[in-house]
């Protein structure tokens, strides 16, 4: 019996390790390629390790395109959008989940249906609107168009729904206002949800390239994804450099994920199951 469990444990470890390695092979390959000489990336027969480690690739990319500016812009956009998204979504979600007001359900249905519309569909009317109010080619415009997604409200509502009504009722009896309840009870309880929304928004904004591509004109406003796309189109064959730039762009997301992952997993637990 005991040996059987040990055996099955070993099998589980083996399967998991093989799969996990499979998952990260592209990233390994990416990192290794980023240290190679561009010709070596596709040499036949395949070389796994670079013959000479070209650490200078990481230096070169900063010289070729204004990566630092791109990083700053992306960070700024991502942080501000995420903050607005999280705050307004939590507010609205509490309203939808815990306050009964007229027209609530209809409003919510409207929110939900727009989630299903792909952005490419309303991109042009949206741009027309933005340009009428002179918000194109500015970070503000990009922030405003991305900070009020219906998905954020939908997600946070799922979390707020999970908060027991009895808890809120008790607080009301204690004399707390709705805003007090929101701030002192609902918000702390929705922490996993907030973490989830932070990751979602962060990942989406950080990785978005179509939005910035359409909205930003000046080079000094552009983002890291645009930078990489620019790199790919201009240095089409400098595979090593493309990989180095890509690696750089992945690091911040990885960091955020590792920091937030505890909450995040809790978040998906609470939000995901209830859908």
């Amino acid at each position: 019996m005991n040996t059987r469990t040990v055996k099955s444990k070993v099998i589980v470890y083996i399967i998991l390790s093989v799969l996990a390695i499979g998952m990260v092979i592209p990233f390994f390959w990416m990192v290794l390629a980023s240290f190679k000489n561009s010709n070596e990336v596709f040499s036949i027969p395949m070389k796994i390790l670079p013959t000479v480690w070209h650490f200078e690739n990481y230096q070169t990319i900063w010289e070729k395109i204004p990566l630092l500016t791109f990083f700053k812009n992306t960070a700024k956009l991502t942080v501000i959008t995420t903050v607005i998204q999280v705050f307004t979504s939590c507010f609205a979600a509490y309203g939808f989940a815990k306050v009964k007001f007229k027209g609530r359900d209809m409003l919510f249905v409207i929110y939900v249906t727009t989630i299903a519309v792909p952005w490419q569909v309303y991109m042009v009317p949206q741009f027309a609107l933005m340009s009428k109010i002179h918000l194109t080619n500015s970070h503000l415009g990009l922030i405003l168009m991305q900070a009020f997604s219906a998905f954020g409200v939908f997600l946070m509502r799922q979390f707020m729904m999970g908060i027991p009504d009895e808890l809120l009722e008790a607080a009301r009896i204690d004399g707390l206002t709705e805003y007090g309840i929101f701030a002192r009870i609902a918000l702390p309880l929705a922490k996993p949800g907030i973490a989830t929304l932070i990751i979602f928004t962060f990942v989406n904004i950080w990785n978005d390239f179509m939005g910035p591509m359409i909205y930003l004109n000046s080079t000094e406003l552009k983002t890291i994804q645009l930078g990489i796309r620019m790199f790919i189109s201009q240095y089409g064959a400098d595979y090593a450099l493309i990989m180095a730039a890509s690696v750089c762009s992945l690091i911040p997301v990885l960091a955020i994920f590792i920091i937030c992952q505890k909450w995040f997993v809790e978040g998906i637990t609470a939000g995901g199951v209830k859908g």
């Binding site: 040499s43 036949i44 027309a128 340009s131 194109t136 004109n217 620019m230």
Partner: protein
């Protein structure tokens, strides 16, 4: 009581908003649309007034935006902008840079959105100007041209070719045509004579075969066919008898047969490889993986620049593009890069000044200094082009054009039809479709695309 009244009022306001939102929304959307167009209509004249004033104000610089693509690898845009700014110290020219493959989409969104930027539009594919004009997105330059007495004959007919409904919405900025580039060092090493300036496509193919050598990663291909549809189809257009807007594309067949043959014989790299690896022709040529490459004149600037920057170190040459049997040498296919003004620009007069400058002989000389081929051709400019340091001394022959055929007709249907042909081109070149099927599909689908 008072409080209740207030509450009721706010509530009504909120309710109205909600019910508006609830009723499907066609109403709010339509009203915005209506007011949006109204706004544009009233806004335009006011903006005009501001524009004429603005340049006069000193201290404050007037901003002019110009949309360009791949700015980092095409220095000519910046050079023209700099020269213009030097002449007009009150003006700041900002280049809106987008990567080439995203450029047309971005311009479409900006113009459809009614943005005032960019003031000046570089039209990457001349056929897209028709769509812009039909959508009233371009400023008619005719009156400006008359007022300033611009002589259109200097463009050698190109300006007239860009006219739409007898009006000049754009002026030619650059003119490029296809030539044949080759690696002199590889030819020397093989002891083969350089490609002549009067070669048929069959002779070119034989030469490419002769120049192919080596195996594996050391293989040197005789020539290089980049993945563009133009690099097959254009050779079928060289005789000027057909255009890419056609009812029957069977005239493309010989060109496809040759392209596939060269690919199968390993004389050029396979299309599938180039496409999936997004391999750039610049690197293939500069890393000496091919002995020849048919490419547009814009490649000259890149080669001169890259050699100067030490990216490669061999001698290159350029000569006339090969021609089909029975067509005169020097017949080539090419395109014009038009320059236009956004109808919604807030500085139309200034934009015109820029366009005038960029398309003038003065602007042309700046382009020539940057090894870029301006639309104006004159002896002075050709001399300048040929005398640039780094231009091959025997390359002047490539600059003589006997017969210039536009790669695509100016027609509003062309972009849709081009997409169809490109998709079929893709399938033919990776060998998923034989040539006849591909051409039959082109015929059918182009008809569908043109029907609208």
């Amino acid at each position: 009581m008072k409080k209740r009244q207030f509450t009721a009022l706010t509530l009504t306001a909120a309710m109205t908003a909600v019910s508006l939102a609830g009723c499907g929304g066609s109403q709010p959307a339509e009203t915005t649309k209506a007011s949006a167009t109204d706004g544009a209509a009233t806004e335009a004249p006011a903006a005009d007034g501001a524009a004429t004033e603005a340049p006069a104000a000193d201290g404050e610089k007037t901003k002019l935006t110009v949309s360009v693509w791949d700015n980092a690898s095409s220095p000519q845009f910046q050079a023209v902008a700099d020269a213009f700014m030097a002449k007009n110290p009150n003006v700041e020219v900002e280049l809106i840079d987008t990567q080439a493959d995203e450029y047309n989409n971005k311009i479409t969104v900006m113009l459809a959105g009614g943005a005032a930027d960019p003031d000046v539009i570089m039209v990457k594919e001349a056929d897209t100007q028709v769509g812009m004009k039909e959508k009233n997105q371009l400023l008619d330059l005719t009156s400006y041209i008359e007022k300033d007495g611009i002589d259109l004959s200097v463009y050698g007919g190109a300006a007239e070719q860009l006219q739409m409904d007898g009006k000049q919405y754009t002026l030619p900025f650059r003119r490029d045509w296809y030539t044949l580039f080759y690696n002199k060092d590889l030819f020397d090493a093989a002891g083969v004579e350089y490609p002549s300036d009067d070669m048929t496509w069959d002779e070119y193919e034989a030469l490419a075969k002769q120049m192919t050598s080596g195996e594996g990663s050391a293989k040197v291909y005789g020539s290089h066919n980049h993945t563009w549809m133009a690099l097959v189809a254009n050779w079928a257009l060289q005789d000027g008898k057909n255009t890419l807007l056609s009812e029957d594309y069977s005239f493309l067949k010989p060109a496809y047969e040759q392209a596939l043959r060269m690919q199968d014989e390993g004389v050029v790299q396979s299309y599938a490889n180039l496409k999936t690896g997004s391999i750039h022709y610049i690197s293939t040529f500069e890393q000496q993986q091919c002995a020849m490459v048919p490419m547009g004149t814009w490649f000259i600037a890149t080669l001169i620049q890259d050699k100067k920057d030490g990216k490669f170190d061999f001698n290159w040459g350029v000569t006339k593009i090969p021609h089909p049997e029975g067509v005169e040498a020097g017949s080539t296919v090419g395109s014009v890069t038009p320059i236009a003004i956004n109808a919604k620009t807030d500085v139309p007069d200034l934009a015109w000044e820029f366009v005038k400058f960029a398309t003038s002989e003065e602007g042309a000389l700046i382009l020539a200094e940057n090894n870029v081929f301006p639309a104006i051709s004159s002896d002075a400019i050709n001399e300048k082009l040929a005398s640039v340091v780094g231009f091959p001394e025997d390359g002047e022959t490539a600059l003589e054009v006997k017969n210039f055929v536009f790669d695509r007709p100016l027609d509003s249907k062309m972009p849709s039809v081009r997409k169809v042909i490109e998709e079929e081109h893709d399938l033919i070149m990776i060998g998923e479709e034989d040539i006849d099927t591909g051409i039959a599909n082109m015929n059918e689908r182009a008809k569908e695309a043109m029907a609208e």
